[in-house]
Every structure is written in structure tokens, then in C-alpha cells.
């Protein structure tokens, strides 16, 4: 029996009305994401990749077309807490400890106290931050703060993880390390991941599916199914296969006049 897709978009459009006239953030986007996929959205600023992610999260409302998340409307899925969302800035509350920050969604969703403690320990281990529970955010480096914010999104039982340029503000060395960790985490949890980035190597290294987008109007120019194996050491990035995929992504970006 075929499984229902986790995310299904048909003819999805979103137009913002501004003082300078309408802006077509998304136009006729069709995309299907199956359970357990790691999907990257890549493209230059203004291509609608973040807008698309925000539509899935019901933080924006499409103006036309159809979007289903777990077979529900995005807003129903949000009310059922179907996804964890990671923003570009870690956005940890400075007045809460790392443990307290991870407990935030659990408190809001009404988890039992004992359950909370277990979950905090579990996700801290997943992002390799065990022992930092009682530290305050300012005592952690930028990369560690972003790991804590990922832990926060993993603490409750959402099977979708939406990440909006989570490593965009970090340096390349930290980024490599976090990419590697993220893959391990994805393998361990089996979540469906939507990942927005503007780095070609990051998209190719992480994804099972790469969605190339272009601006004005925001649309999909290419969807690339990755041929890379699931097991991905960092030096995979020097193989011809990896470079071929990177080339195709670059071609896709060029086809969308993204370099204008």
C-alpha cells in the first residue's frame, strides 16, 4: 500500500500586496515530499524558498493552489504540532537555561514533568550537548546555540523538521561539523526534513532531493533526486558523483536566471 506523501503542493501561489504593486513570492509550485526524505530548497534571495517553508508551517497563507501536510491543511497540521521549526537565529530565550529552552515547547504542549526531564536528556544527547542543561545561552558558542535550538525542535514528537537556513550565520568549519551531525540525527530519528539553504555543497551533501528555485516570480526550476548513498562521510564531497550533482544544481540556478 502506497503511503500518503507528507507534503503535497499543487499550483501553489503566494502574492504579497505591497505599495510597489504585487510581489509574486511563489507561482504555481508543484512538489511532493515523501516520508523520511531530506529535501533542500536552494536558490538566491527572493526565490521563495523560505516563503514555501513558512507556508508548510502555516506561518504564511498561500493565495492560490493546494497544500497538504500529513493529509491535513497546514493550519490543522500546525495545531496538531506536526513539525518542529528551526529559524536562522537560534532564538533561545536568554532568561532560560538550555534545558529550560528545550522544555519550552513541552511546557506549552502540556507534557508531564517527569516526561519532560527524560526528553530534555534525550535530545541533548542527540545534539551532543549533554552536560549543558544548566548553562545559559550566552555561555555557549553560536554553533552550540543552534544545536540547542535543533534540540528544542526535536523535543516533541513532530515527524517533520523544517529548517530555515539554520547554519547560515555560522562559519564553514562549524557548519561542516553540524552538517555531519545533522545527517546522523536524521538517520537516527527518521524524520522528514525540509531544509532551506543557499549553499550548493550543503544542499548536495545533505539531501535526498534538491529543489532548485529561482526568483521573480518564485518558482521551482529543477527537482534533483540525489544518487548519493545514505551513508555520507565528509570526504564524499570530493567524489565525481558529488561534483556532478553540484554541477546540475548550478545549471538549474543558471537556467532560472538566478545569476542576473
Amino acid at each position: 500500500m502506497a503511503q500518503d506523501p507528507v507534503i503535497q503542493a499543487q499550483n501553489l501561489s503566494l502574492t504579497f500586496q505591497t505599495n510597489d504593486g504585487p510581489v509574486h513570492a511563489l507561482k504555481d509550485v508543484d512538489l511532493t515530499i515523501e516520508k523520511g526524505e531530506f529535501v533542500s530548497f536552494i536558490g538566491p534571495s527572493g526565490c521563495g524558498k523560505t516563503t514555501f517553508l513558512r507556508c508548510i508551517a502555516a506561518l504564511e497563507k498561500p493565495t492560490a493552489g493546494n497544500l497538504m501536510v500529513n493529509g491535513l491543511t497546514p493550519d490543522e497540521a500546525r495545531r496538531k504540532r506536526a513539525y518542529g521549526y528551526v529559524f536562522q537565529s537560534a532564538g533561545l530565550y536568554p532568561w532560560r537555561t538550555i534545558g529550560g529552552n528545550i522544555r519550552l515547547p513541552l511546557e506549552i504542549m502540556g507534557y508531564a514533568k517527569s516526561d519532560m526531564a527524560d526528553r530534555v536528556q534525550h535530545v541533548l544527547k542527540l545534539v551532543e550537548l549533554d552536560g549543558f542543561e544548566k548553562k545559559f545561552p550566552w555561555q555557549l558558542s553560536g554553533g552550540m546555540q543552534q544545536r540547542a535550538s535543533i534540540a528544542r525542535a526535536l523535543a516533541f514528537d513532530a515527524d517533520i523538521l523544517l529548517m530555515d537556513e539554520p547554519f547560515g550565520a555560522l562559519d564553514e568549519i562549524v557548519r561542516d561539523h553540524l552538517n555531519e551531525q545533522l545527517l546522523k540525527l536524521w538517520a537516527k530519528t527518521g524524520k522528514t526534513v525540509g531544509f532551506v539553504t543557499h549553499s550548493i555543497p550543503e544542499a548536495v551533501y545533505l539531501s535526498t532531493k534538491i529543489v532548485v528555485m529561482s526568483p521573480r516570480p518564485g518558482r521551482i526550476t529543477d527537482v534533483i533526486e540525489s544518487t548519493l548513498p545514505r551513508e555520507r562521510p565528509l570526504d564524499l564531497r570530493e567524489t565525481p558523483e558529488f561534483l556532478a550533482l553540484s554541477h546540475r544544481v548550478r545549471e538549474g540556478l543558471r537556467a532560472g536566471h538566478s545569476y542576473d
Binding site: 506561518l59 500546525r78 521549526y85 529559524f87 530565550y93 532568561w95 511546557e107 504542549m109 550566552w138
Partner: protein, 310 residues
């Protein structure tokens, strides 16, 4: 206490300027008294001296400058005189067991403090509730905020007697309630402005995050907006309590009150007793200092617990 030295340096400078100012301020009175006692003064006669500058008088009569520092009713008393008067009406009376006699500044400060605290509580409550309304309702934002600003442009001295007349008309006994209202009137505004800013401090992404958790309004208020606003609130409270004290004293001034620091200042003025004015002024300053320090300590403890860097 590494910030003690700069504070003491500034204080020392102020005291020095004060002492230097005493001589020119008091020289005419000192010369008048000396002339009456039979000394020869240049130029002769108090009317003659009016057209001569104070510094000139000091230069021509150097032997009488000393007297300017020991007058009974000086235009400007020395810090020493103020200190002695202050001690006489506070510590000395407390030692004699008469701390709450109506000649004691402790008693008057206590009266003022009560109204200040009631006004502070009232003003803070109004300020916080107003800020919540403004942040959550666009209608309140458009309507309340301008009135808040307009309210602060009306001189409180003009408003104070009206509040007292109205409250006695409504059958409210005593001056405690109207004084607290006057004090709250000055105190609510900084709290309102600070809290509006504080409650709006969270970034859009932090509010979005709560939306992804499907948090309700109460949760986003108590878990995000309120804690985010606390640093702003404490700063406002420190301004607010000083304003509340000023409000209370103003409330005591034009209203014929017989107790409270404001009443002491007024009585000192009417009876030509500058020492009483000055020591009441000092009592008010010390009271304000204590209240602000108390709030500052509370802020340190509270924000320290909330992960503030130490």
C-alpha cells in the same frame, strides 16, 4: 566598591562649590548684622550696599566673611548647618524616643513614604495594564497612548488642588488617597512607556516560534512577552518611584497639608526657616535614594536569576 571613588569625588566637588557659594549668598545679611552690632562696614548702610556686587563687598570687608558661615537665618546655609539641623530633627529625636513626634522628619518622611508607595503601586498597576492593552489592542494603541502623553503635559501643580477638592467632595477623608492619586499620576507614565517597549521587545521569529507550538495568548504572554519585558520594567520602576515621590511632595505643597516632607518645605518657607527647608529637602533626597537603591537590588537579584551576566 570600585565606583565609590568617582561618586565621592563628585560629591566632594559639589560640597566645595556649595561652601564657596555660601559667602557671596550671605555676605549682605552678615554685613547688616555686623553694622548693627557697631562694626564699620564699607560702604556704610544696607541700602548703599545694594548697588555693590557681593564679590566687591567680600573684598572690601574680608573680616566679616567668616560671619556669613554662621548666620541663624542664612539665605544659603552651609552643608554643616544643614547636617546639624537634619540630625536634630531625625537621629537626635529618635535617640530621645520621639522619632514619631510631629517635629521629627522621620515622622514626616513616613507620611510621605506611605503615600509614595500607594501611588507607586497604583501607578505601576495602571502603567502595566495600560501597556498590556496597548500592545494587544490596536484601538487602545491609537487611543490610550496619545492621552498618556497629553496627561504628562498638564502641570501637576495645577492639577493637585483639583484632585484634592474632588476627592473631598466625594467624601474621602484625609489626604492619603488624593496624594496617592497625584503620585500615581506622575508615576504611571514611565512604567507605561517602558512596558510597551518591553512587551514589544520579542522579535518576530520568537513569536513565530510560539505559533509553531500552537501556543495560546496566555502562554505567549507569560512565557515570552512578560519575561522579555522585565529589564525594561525595572528601569521604568526606578524612574517611576522617583516620580511618585515627587508627586507626593507636590501633592503636599499647595494643599495646606500639615504633615509630610512637602508640608515641612512649605512651612519652612512661610516661617522663613531655610534650615527646615533644606533638611526636608535632604530627607526627600535620601528617601528617593533608598527607594531607588532597593529597586536596583531587586533588579539585580531578579535579572541575575534570569541568566544575567555577572
Amino acid at each position: 566598591m570600585r565606583n565609590l571613588l568617582p561618586i565621592l569625588t563628585v560629591l566632594g566637588g559639589l560640597v566645595l562649590i556649595w561652601y564657596l557659594a555660601v559667602a557671596p549668598m550671605n555676605i549682605r545679611t552678615a554685613l547688616d548684622q555686623a553694622e548693627r552690632a557697631g562694626a564699620t562696614i564699607l560702604p556704610e548702610g544696607s541700602v548703599e550696599r545694594r548697588s555693590v556686587s557681593a564679590l566687591r563687598l567680600m573684598a572690601d570687608n574680608p573680616w566679616h566673611i567668616r560671619a556669613a558661615y554662621g548666620l541663624d537665618r542664612p539665605r544659603l546655609p552651609t552643608p554643616m548647618q544643614v547636617g546639624q539641623e537634619f540630625w536634630k530633627t531625625t537621629g537626635d529625636m529618635a535617640l530621645k524616643g520621639r522619632a514619631f513626634s510631629n517635629r521629627s522628619l522621620i515622622y514626616h518622611a513616613w507620611i510621605t513614604l506611605q503615600s509614595t508607595l500607594w501611588g507607586f503601586a497604583l501607578g505601576t498597576a495602571v502603567g502595566i495594564l495600560g501597556a498590556v492593552a496597548i500592545v494587544y489592542s490596536r484601538v487602545a494603541d491609537m487611543s490610550l497612548m496619545p492621552w498618556g502623553i497629553i496627561s504628562q503635559t498638564i502641570p501637576i501643580v495645577a492639577l493637585a488642588p483639583m484632585i484634592i477638592v474632588v476627592s473631598s467632595q466625594l467624601g474621602i477623608e484625609g489626604r492619603g488617597v488624593p496624594k496617592a492619586i497625584i503620585s500615581a499620576y506622575l508615576c504611571f507614565f514611565p512604567v507605561l512607556v517602558g512596558m510597551v517597549k518591553g512587551l514589544r521587545a520579542p522579535e518576530a521569529s520568537q513569536l513565530d516560534l510560539l505559533k509553531t507550538y500552537d501556543a495560546n495568548g496566555w502562554q505567549s504572554f507569560f512565557k515570552l512577552r512578560l519575561p522579555a519585558s522585565l529589564p525594561f520594567l525595572f528601569t521604568s520602576l526606578k524612574i517611576g518611584i522617583a516620580a511618585a515621590l515627587v508627586g507626593t511632595i507636590v501633592g503636599e505643597l499647595p494643599t495646606g497639608a500639615v504633615s509630610g516632607l512637602g508640608a515641612r518645605i512649605l512651612i519652612g518657607d512661610q516661617f522663613g526657616a531655610p534650615l527646615a527647608i533644606w533638611s526636608a529637602l535632604f530627607a526627600a533626597a535620601i528617601l528617593a535614594g533608598l527607594l531607588v537603591t532597593l529597586l536596583d537590588l531587586t533588579q539585580r537579584v531578579a535579572l541575575g536569576r534570569m541568566g544575567g551576566r555577572t
